[in-house]
């Protein structure tokens, strides 16, 4: 047997709670697990949007439909001819605002819709000037969590291009305003996800876009919106930007598991990749263990109530890609569907910067990929159960993939004869050459002396054997003889008169037995008729007599 130790070749940490900027995300651990499918599968949904523009006081717009109770409403108010601040309607909160003296102003507001939310919303501004107001209603997870400012409103005066980052996995709104003359905005970004122009007016002085990102989007993907215009302008970005913080090994510690239920910082899982292709493909894997090193700084922390598990990702990649997939972070049902290969118990004594070998499951050996990568997901039992607690249930692991390793004990293949002998051996003489054949014979033994002429006829003889002596002349005539047999000698004159002769037999006198001079007697019995037709001559010669009976 051989012991092979495979060190981690790659690692990926995905945190659905912590913001990508490593700060608090808008979701708490409890909110995430209470709204798991909405947060991950649905995300933020755009329900309706409306736009209004005029040169007047008091900007206003009216939703087409009454906003749904609990949904989030966003308002983007732009002024293109002045920098006069507006006062929001009751209940509206300003997220960000910026203006340039005398030329333009951008304000973004939000409000959570009430039970009988109004359609019409009016901002107060006593100055009559060109304004443009767009209102949007958002549902989905936006009904649970509040929007945040992604990029605070800023005047862009030194260049004419600004880039909005696509971060997080929820919808984000970008807005820009310019002042002065009509200008055009051009989106020159890398839009790999859907970007929708909101219904701004055609003055060309305002633009807003809504990103509808993939709900399974993970950090590390590339999506940008870059607006280019011929004029300086003001721009801002707001939206819902939680989770999917990604850590590729930076820093001292990686946190895996869940923080307390009210925390907005840790709801993370870790993917590990081991290149196990150096295992001989024909070897048998006898045992597999995973050894995980705790973080060098905070690594002494270990969850008190939740085991930490290793799951097989069945060689699936852990790398984020520009697609609508989650490679690493799994929901409880998804974790339950994976094969658990090892675990370390809750409350296990733990020190920082120490390697611990976890307890393997019997299924582990079957999950090792001898032809490529073996990928592992580290998550807690709480995350599989969808459980959150008042206590922190996470562990702190070393951020370097190479400090974690798989140990695989494997053996080369044992030769085994698997073919089945189908020929029945004929034993003719086994006195002289007795041999012992091992249970697992790989080579065909050579038998020196073989009786050459023995033959065995199988039970199923398909060929008719040849019989050398045969009686030559026996013949058999089939019961249904169709040809008339030829009879060499036959009596030709035999006549048969049927028993039921109905017609009167006639004798045609073509044969004349009455030879000359020979006496003949023709006797006609009673009631006989002798009919002589036409001209008949009865010539009685010699002693002939015709005697009538009553004469």
């Amino acid at each position: 047997m051989t012991t092979s130790v495979f060190y981690g070749a790659d690692k990926r940490l995905v945190d659905f709670v912590t913001d990508e900027g490593a700060g608090n995300g808008p979701l708490t651990v409890k909110q995430l697990y209470d709204n798991l499918n909405t947060a991950i599968d649905t995300g933020v949904t755009l329900v309706q949007q409306i736009n209004n523009s005029a040169t007047s006081t008091n900007p206003n717009a009216t939703f087409t439909n009454t906003p749904t109770n609990g949904n989030a409403m966003i308002a983007i108010l732009c002024r293109a001819a002045d920098n006069v601040a507006s006062t929001g309607p009751a209940g509206w909160t300003q997220l960000t605002a910026q203006g340039s003296a005398g030329s333009r102003r951008l304000e973004i507001w939000w409000k959570r819709a009430g039970a009988s939310e109004a359609k019409l919303h009016t901002w107060t501004n006593a100055t009559s000037a060109l304004w443009d107001l767009t209102m949007i209603e958002y549902g989905g997870i936006a009904a649970t969590i509040d929007p945040v400012v992604v990029i605070g409103a800023t005047n862009v005066t030194t260049n004419t291009t600004t880039t909005f980052l696509q971060s997080g996995f929820l919808s984000t709104i970008c807005a820009v305003a310019t002042g002065g003359a009509v200008t055009n905005f051009t989106n020159t970004g890398t839009n790999i996800e859907t970007v929708t122009d909101l219904p701004f007016t055609t003055t060309g002085r305002f633009r807003a876009m809504n990103l509808d990102p993939w709900t399974n989007r993970e950090s590390g993907q590339t999506n940008t919106i870059s607006w280019t215009t011929s004029r300086a302008f003001t721009r801002a970005q707001v939206g819902w930007n939680p989770g999917t913080a990604d850590n590729d090994g930076v820093g001292l510690d990686n946190y895996v598991g869940n923080q307390t239920q009210t925390s907005q910082t840790i709801g993370a899982q870790m993917g590990l990749r081991f290149d196990t292709s150096a295992l001989p493909n024909n070897d048998t894997i006898d045992s597999t263990t995973i050894s995980i090193r705790t973080g060098p700084s905070g690594g002494a922390f270990w969850p008190a109530n939740s085991a930490v598990n290793a799951y097989s990702l069945a060689a699936a990649s852990i790398t984020a890609s520009n697609s609508n997939t989650r490679a690493v972070w799994k929901k409880p049902s998804e974790l339950a569907a994976l094969t658990k290969v090892a675990s370390r118990a809750a409350g296990a004594s733990t020190s920082a910067g120490t390697v611990y070998t976890w307890t393997s499951e019997s299924a582990f050996t079957g999950q090792v990929n001898k032809t490529g990568d073996t990928t592992i997901l580290i998550a807690t039992a709480d995350q599989q159960a969808g459980t959150y607690r008042a206590t922190a249930e996470y562990c702190v692991l070393d951020p370097s993939a190479a400090n974690h390793y798989l140990t695989v004990v494997h053996s080369p293949p044992v030769s085994t004869v698997t073919a089945t002998v189908t020929v029945t051996p004929t034993v003719s003489d086994i006195v002289a050459y007795l041999r012992t054949i091992a249970a697992t014979v790989t080579a065909t033994p050579v038998i020196a002396t073989v009786i050459a002429y023995l033959r065995t006829i199988t039970a199923d003889l398909a060929v008719t054997p040849t019989i050398t002596t045969v009686q030559a002349y026996l013949r058999t005539i089939a019961t249904t003889l169709t040809a008339t047999p030829a009879i060499a000698t036959a009596v030709t004159v035999l006549r048969t008169i049927t028993a039921t002769l109905t017609g009167t037999g006639s004798i045609t006198a073509t044969f004349q037995p009455f030879s000359a001079q020979v006496a003949r007697i023709v006797r006609l019995a009673g009631r006989s008729t002798l009919k002589l037709t036409q001209i008949v001559t009865a010539r009685l010669g010699g002693r002939s007599t015709i005697r009538a009976p009553k004469e």
Partner: protein
């Protein structure tokens, strides 16, 4: 430049492999841990194979893609992420072997 620093500074596979070879070639045998004696090694990157006897280990022992050292708060070799390390292939080896002694 230590092997770890050379590895971090490597810009080609050949440079990285040379750093690894230098590190693993620096070991002196035999190495004894409890009832285990490690008698020698063969370097065929990314595999470093060790021969030895004793312990509950199934010999030979192969390390694949092993790091060249260990994180050490007191280490003088600082990786690009700012973490302190020390070049110590023997510590890496004993980290594994020690479990079987």
């Amino acid at each position: 430049m230590t092997p770890l620093e050379a590895l971090w500074a490597a810009t080609t596979q050949a440079e990285a492999d040379q750093a690894r070879t230098d590190a693993w070639s620096s070991l002196t045998f035999p190495i004894t841990v409890g009832d285990i004696t490690i008698t020698g090694s063969t370097i065929k990157l990314p595999i470093v194979e060790f021969t030895g006897t004793g312990g509950t280990l199934d010999w030979p022992l192969r390390l694949i893609g092993a790091p060249l050292g260990v994180p050490d708060p007191d280490g003088l070799e600082i990786d690009p992420d700012g973490v302190a390390w020390r070049t110590d292939p023997e510590a890496v080896l004993l980290n594994v072997v020690g479990r079987y002694a």
